[in-house]
């Protein structure tokens, strides 16, 4: 191999690009050429460093020196000083606000990275279909330690002390849950892993199962040891074929290696895991519904108590946790409760995986410590809003959650703050919306989901959500009246207050939260009959600006209902009575003469 060249990596992430990192790269190239260094020094564009607020970011390799806030005018100094003379440009280094210390390398700055991978620790690192790689990355070490050196109560104490709360939505303390299941005596108990990830837009559980299945298997065995269960069940969506295949492989390998099955590692503890399939019912994310589904029944929830920890699968004490929760267990055992509880906020410990989606640049999975702000998530890790549009809202918690707005951008995200803001953690879907999204339509979209996913058992959820959806439809069609908003709110409150399970108790959240945060948008729909975002077709009016229209007749020819009239070379007119608002004319017009009012 040839001798290493110097390479200057310029962040080309959206955040830095917005801050003109392109110009920085160009200036650097010019300087390199000016100094005839093109054979030894190269400029490379990279993706986002996750340091968007410090951008543009430039990293010089192999020295591993990171410069922040680099302007095109700094290029000369970087080349002259650093590249030619080997002297680091101190003024462009990152300064730790607390200590005043200048940090040089990406390594030193790693503590400032917004993301922290605990759950996703092995995703993308190990071959999920090769247990040896998992073992090399500490899999089953925690199980070994638990089985040989700890009592169940000691393990439960660690989990309790770690402050871990269920990642499936409710945020119930995991250690406490295990303790209750442990205390209920029975001849048989079950450990269930809820992998029926149903929130549209959330896919962290699938990623963990696809990337690091042993993390879940090991944690289930640990849980089994604690609650004295010898059987584990993973309830997984049938729509996740890859995750299913990898889980099956992982289970088979773990059995082959004696890390699951009879008498694990000769400790006398036996634990076996089976897979059960979901079949497309969101409500089965609810524990009791999930258990009924595993029993071959319709996935209808039942009243709690009794909780699954008392009478669950086959009437036996059952502990249900979701994938992400289980994935936290082994690191907690290995690194201790104190370590885990040092991460996060007072009442929400550890990290949370979010699935960023919607109008955001860096769509994908991120894992951040609890307490990270929405601003950090969206504008730094997420790289900001697509196409430079304005941030409007972020929906968390999926169809059960609510939306966070501009005013929540600096709120640290944790279980309690989200609830206080009228939303919820849910499973961690985070959908970003921009100025083009109509919040009434967004609420309607979520209701559409709930209506389809309601199991139909209890009246408020079965009928109430349908009525909510109808009323929102009515409003988006411009047929609403101001009094409808009060009715909407009352229906929401009653549905929340009276529904049988979590689905109905939270399904009105998207409506309530948009009603709260975007009241004026609702009012515009019911009073002025306008959709401020220009999304509601029935509230739009296509209009030709006479000054821009050259009379090319293209619009008139494309109109499917002949709503456009006009002489050739004369401005055309749209008859709003006939127009069906299909938008074909607007697409066809080359002169930007057609607008939506």
């Amino acid at each position: 191999m040839t001798k290493k060249k110097i390479q200057i990596i310029v962040c080309g992430g959206t955040g830095c690009s917005d801050k003109n990192s392109n110009a920085v790269a160009e200036s650097l190239t010019i300087e390199i050429e000016a100094n005839a260094l093109e054979n030894d020094v190269k400029v490379v564009r990279s993706g986002c460093f996750g340091l968007c607020n410090l951008g543009p970011v430039v990293r010089v390799m192999p020295d591993d020196v990171v410069y922040i806030g680099v302007k095109p005018s700094d290029a000369q100094e970087i080349i002259d000083e650093h590249i030619m003379k080997g002297r680091v440009v101190e003024r462009l280094l990152f300064t730790d606000a607390l200590t005043g210390k200048k940090l040089r390398s990406a390594q030193e700055m790693s503590g400032y990275r917004k993301q922290m991978r605990i759950v996703l620790r092995n995703c993308g690192i190990i071959d999920p279909e090769n247990i040896e790689e998992a073992i090399a990355h500490d899999a089953y070490e925690a199980l070994a330690r638990v089985l040989t050196t700890m009592t169940p109560d000691e393990v439960i104490k660690i989990v309790k002390d770690s402050g871990l709360r269920g990642r499936g939505g409710g945020g119930f303390p995991t250690g406490l849950k295990w303790e209750i299941a442990r205390k209920n005596k029975a001849d048989e108990k079950y450990v269930v892993c809820n992998a029926d990830e149903g929130d549209p837009g959330a896919f962290m559980d699938r990623s963990v199962l696809e990337g690091d299945p042993h993390a879940v298997l090991e944690a289930m065995a640990i849980c089994g040891y604690c609650i004295e269960a010898s059987k584990g069940l993973i309830y997984i969506r049938a729509e996740y074929p890859l995750a299913v295949a990898r889980l099956k492989t992982a289970i088979a390998q773990a059995k082959e290696y004696g890390l699951l099955g009879e008498n694990i590692m000769n400790t006398g503890f036996s634990f076996d895991i089976e897979i059960r399939y979901g079949a497309g019912a969101f409500v089965c994310g609810e524990e009791t519904a999930l258990i009924h589904s595993m029993e071959g029944l319709r996935g209808e929830p039942t009243v709690k108590p009794p909780f699954p920890a008392e009478a669950g699968f086959r009437g036996k004490p059952t502990n249900v946790n979701n994938v992400e929760t289980f994935a936290c267990i082994s690191p907690i055992i290995l690194k201790g409760a104190e370590w885990f509880s040092s991460i996060g906020t007072e009442k929400s410990k550890g990290t949370k995986v979010f699935a960023l989606a919607g109008k955001i640049n860096n769509v994908g999975l991120i894992e951040v410590p609890m307490g990270t702000t929405l601003r950090e998530v969206i504008f730094e890790i997420g790289g900001g809003i697509r196409n430079g549009k304005k941030f409007k809202a972020a929906q968390t918690g999926g169809p059960s959650g609510g939306c966070l707005t501009e005013k929540h951008l600096d709120t640290p995200i944790d279980f309690d703050n989200l609830v206080a803001a009228g939303s919820m953690m849910g499973s961690g879907g985070l959908i970003v919306m921009d100025e083009d999204d109509c919040m009434v339509s967004v609420a309607k979209f979520f209701l559409d989901f709930t209506v389809e996913e309601s199991c139909g058992k209890c009246a408020p959820c079965r009928i109430g959500n349908k009525r909510l959806h109808e009323l929102l439809e009515h409003i988006t069609k411009g047929k609403g009246v101001p009094a409808d908003l009060d009715r909407l709110r009352n229906m929401c409150l009653v549905i929340k207050d009276t529904s049988l399970c979590g689905l109905g108790q939270s399904s009105p959240n998207p409506v309530l939260s948009t009603l709260e945060n975007f009241k004026d948008e609702y009012e515009a729909h019911v009073t002025a009959k306008k959709c401020p975002a220009g999304k509601c077709r029935d509230l739009m009016e296509y209009f030709i600006i006479a000054e821009n229209c050259v009379g090319c007749t293209a619009c008139a020819r494309v109109c499917p209902v002949n709503a456009i009239t006009g002489e050739r070379k004369e401005p055309h007119v749209i008859n709003p009575e006939i127009c069906i608002k299909c938008g074909a004319c607007k697409e066809k017009c080359k002169f930007d003469a057609i607008i939506i009012k």
Partner: protein
């Protein structure tokens, strides 16, 4: 109460019995049995449910209740190339609705229908978890990402000769 005759081929009956037996004819395994049967037959016609009912000793009404509860199960045969449009939130905000409309228009189908020649069927589903590629369309096992309405015709063309 009249007796009903159910017609199935011997090999189909044997297959269903075999599937049920592989789950020890345990009624609690009903959903797994239904999955396997749907995998084999492509859908779950009444006849298949009747045989399962006998094997697992579960009233057929209850089986039908389960089949109609879960959106993954279907009683209508799907097309040779089942088209599923993801209607998850991420896909929705990135325009999945328009893509669905385009498929409906191109195929002349409503959601849940199959073309008369049995080639395509159209369904919508909730989040395949490929949100980074939104809007996402699945045809059979193949995933299409970042689909725009204009791509629909070309996508369908790929299946012209299959």
């Amino acid at each position: 109460m009249s007796s009903i005759k159910i017609e199935l081929r011997q090999e189909d009956v044997s297959k269903i019995k075999e599937i049920c037996a592989s789950f020890n004819n345990d009624p609690q395994e009903l959903i797994n049995v239904l999955h396997k049967c749907q995998e084999h037959f492509g859908y779950l016609p009444a006849e298949v449910q009747e045989v399962i009912s006998t094997e697992l000793n579960v009233p057929v009404a209850k089986i039908y209740g389960v089949v109609t509860f879960y959106s993954f199960f279907t009683m209508t045969p799907r097309g040779k190339h089942p088209i599923s449009i993801c209607m998850g939130t991420a896909c929705y905000v990135r325009g999945a609705e328009k893509v669905l409309e385009e498929f409906k228009k191109e195929l002349g189908l409503q959601v849940g229908q199959t073309t008369p020649d049995g080639k395509f069927s159209l369904s919508s589903l909730r989040c395949v978890g490929a949100c980074g590629l939104a809007p996402v369309v699945m045809i059979g096992d193949k995933t299409y990402g970042r689909v725009a309405p204009d791509d629909v015709r070309n996508i369908l063309k790929e299946y012209e000769n299959y």
